[in-house]
Amino acid sequence: MTIGCSFLGRILYGALFPALCLLALSAPVPAAAADAGSSLKKLQEKADALDLSARRNWQILLHYKKTITGGYKSRISDPNFFLSPAGPTDPREELQATLAGFFQPPGIEGEHPICRFPARLRWLTEELQIDPSTLPLPSCQQQRKLIETVDARSAVLVFPVGHINSPASMFGHTLLRIDGSSKSSLISYAVNYAADATDVNGFIYAYKGIFGKYKGYYSLMPYYLKVKEYSDLEHRDMWEYRLKLSQEEVDRMLLHTLELERISSEYYFLDENCSFNLLFLIEAARPTLQLTDRTGTLVLPTNTIDIARESGILEEAVYRPSQGARMTQMASLLSADEQQAALELARGRRAPESVREGDHTEAARRGMLDLAAETLQLRYAGKELDHDAYSKLYLKILSERSAYGKGNEESYAIQPPPPHDVGHRATRIGAGVGVRRGEWYGEAELQPGFHSLLDPDQGYLRGAQIRYLDTALAYSPGPGRLWLKTLHLLDIVSTAPRDRFFKPYSWKIATGWDTEPMRGGRDSLIFRLNTGGGFSARTPGDGIVYAFAELDLNAGKRFRGKVAAGPGVTLGVLEQVNDRWKVQLQGGGFAYLLGDERVALKGTLAQSFRLFRNSSLSFDCAFTRVGGHGVPEAVLLAHRYF
């Protein structure tokens, strides 16, 4: 039934439109209108006979999803996306109206349905074998220019990872890149989906985001702008997965993207977000893929990569290191003195010509200037100096650098870290046994997401933890008691090591319920809000040592006065002993000065063993001392990630 489609992209946008435009000037209008009327009616009948509106292709192009009652509803509510008022819920009506729309006389440039819905036009033309000569002749100039400029040849799924000092953005982001015939991908075009959010008040932002009060829009922009946004000036590495799509499929993706220009959809931060909405474009490219109906209630960028990977359309990941990673590599080639010299160059405390002096190799002179230029960019980004001072110093350093040749091209190449694909899945369950004060219990735990400090790091940011709703239930067979051990609403820890060039702060925030000993020695479930800030550094073994000053607020019915609050200090070290074995040693002390006054000390030794990509063991020992009572505890758990 279908015509071979490869001709379409080329013909429709190459030859057809200009040819038809010329014809339009001389077309006898009344006769054409009568013809159009009968052609349209035939096509509409044929579409009904073929039941085209029930086809998956149509449902993808209109973003329909099945409702519980068996009907359809489009995930897009913007009326501009539909040609029939019933369109949002009636696929057939919309298809009929779309066909009718194609036969409308040409009006304002670019506003004709033929210009606005090129992917629908293409598919319906194939399915109904529409004779292009029966259609009206809008010029669609802007669109043709855009298609020419983008020159789509292939597509790439891009995953910028999270920020090293912001585990909250450790979920990362995803976008698509459409490559043309250029060798450089920087001048390819990025397709991005984002919420148009202008609120800076966090609570309004969160409320609107979660309940879909923001409008999400697709946008198309040069890829170098996205690389600047993520990779430069931020420590966000990017992974680029080329999609195994044919030319025809890439054409379809671009055509559907064009249909979504200026079309708003409700942006739901948790599920119908940036990553989820990109899946529609991949489905539009190859309608046999089922991606959007495979997502859960929470869609993380990494989920979309997993889904795409499992559907077999991803090629191997290509690594694009961030500016931070590049600088770390540059610094690793220099001695400590040379690193210090680069820093002083970037601070303007040493003249660029001074690298000529002293006993340095040619490569080291280059390296100091290169590293100084990068560091200076970061200093300017951090507003450490003004524009004039920056550009003067920047040019001085570069001018000196230009005298040293290009050096070894390979020396700055970075060995890619393990990509996300080799990391554990985001949801963790576990089961095991524990003993607390000599009393045995069985434990079951659930960590819906995302990564804890002790989970295997492969594919994740080291030293960063973000967990939500992690829950542990315990059963003590002695007294026959089932009890809630912990339920953390949110638990974030960011340990960002400081070094000569980067001076990030570390921070943490956690809230939820914990089982804690009271001053009488008995356990009780308490509500906790804990937050702190501090510093981290690398250990000689490439682990992380950290120190936090914290504030701990507790509430519970067994506290005197129901509350206890006070400052505390936590010190710890996290060491990756080998590829599989990770150890965390941590000690903390809290002085509860408000409410139920007391001093609490806690030490833990936690270990985890990675068995396979998605399974691990953990063994934690802890000792808590409150008001003269000591509480020892040990827990052994087996974990599975899925």
């Binding site: 400029t149 450089s184 040069p222 550009s391």
Partner: protein, 155 residues
Amino acid sequence: MKKVLAGFALTLLASNAALAAQAHTNTGCGLGTMLFQNKADNSIVLQVLQSTTNGSTGTQTFGISSGTSDCQQPSDIVQNEKLNHFVRSNMDNLAKEIAMGKGETLDTFVEMLGVAPAQSDAYKANLQANFGKIFTSDKVVLAEVIDNVVAVSKN
């Protein structure tokens, strides 16, 4: 009183517009001006909330080649808006990579100039050797950079 206030407001608006128009010429066309373009907000609260969201502003555009009309335009080369926009947006990295004689931004720039791959290395080496003739001062703007590149390439 109302009329006076309205008149005052209008005058203010007009003079602001005039100032803005003046200040607009060639601002944002040199070094350091576009370094933060598209840079995400860095406050921790927003980052926490932006975690899965990537919410941001001004996102509706299909801007494939927008925005160097407020800059002085290069003279010696066929008008190429895509090249102008690229140079404007990547001026700092381009300067750095011309000085280093290598890098992706430089490769892209050289490709956009239509230099044949076989000549690319020699071309980049020539740009590096003439860094001072391309980036003539810290106030250099995109039109001058492109014109200077064309000039040193003719030699």
